[in-house]
Symmetry: C2
Subunit: 137 residues, 2 copies
């Protein structure tokens, strides 16, 4: 039995996925769903990460955000080293159950991003026919 199957039921029909009351995540070929993480108080986007079945299960059960680090190939309890632990206030799932939305309170906002910023999205992309340049803030 796979890790995912041990922790979550297998996805059912399209109707069950979209309208059912069972969490049956559609993990991708590498066993991951996308996690979108926003600030529970201020609402802004903090980061995008990925979760395998173990990370999602631990997050639901403990209320502390866990992810799967693709670069390290290991479970990642966010903030375990830096102190920027994320307390999860709410979890939502999307229509086809391949993405989750976490609203979190961050213990140490200045270390939310590994670049020592309070969000990973600290640059704006210029728009228009000549767009594409990045500016800070």
């Amino acid at each position: 039995m796979s890790e995912a199957a041990r922790r979550f039921p297998a996805p059912g029909s399209k109707a069950e996925l979209e309208e059912g009351s069972a969490l049956t995540p559609r993990f991708d070929a590498t066993g991951l769903v996308t996690a979108v993480v926003t600030d529970a108080e201020r609402g802004g986007l903090l980061m995008v990460a990925h979760m395998n079945a173990e990370a999602l299960d631990l997050t639901i059960r403990t209320g502390i955000a866990h992810y799967w680090s693709r670069s390290r190939g290991s479970l990642w309890k966010k903030g375990e080293t830096s102190g920027a632990l994320q307390s999860v206030r709410e979890i939502r799932v999307d229509c086809d159950q391949d993405a989750v939305w976490l609203k979190v309170s961050v213990a140490k906002p200045e270390d939310t991003c590994h670049t020592h910023r309070d969000t990973c999205f600290y640059r704006t992309v210029a728009m228009g026919p000549d767009g594409g340049r990045l500016t800070a803030g």
Copy 2:
């Protein structure tokens, strides 16, 4: 020359990716970056989608959100059929340039999700030791 290379410079060093002013998206093995889409006025998360180089380039140049439909295997001008076009107010990119954040105004909010809702994230996941059940709203 690949589609991505024709439209965007290749990613440089870690320092250039994180601190530079050039948009050099890190498309994954299937040629996609993750797009997180929030409501420019109300702030909530609307959907998570994916973009190939063409979709990202068109979005930057036209200000109308384009994605790559993984299920259909084709470019997807969001709302072209339903009328729920997304006018992009701001685009941000994350530290390692494999995800973008679009703040959009939606022409027809009730068709943002294909299930005829104003967000794809219409269900909450119960938390705690016995968590996992989904509830509407």
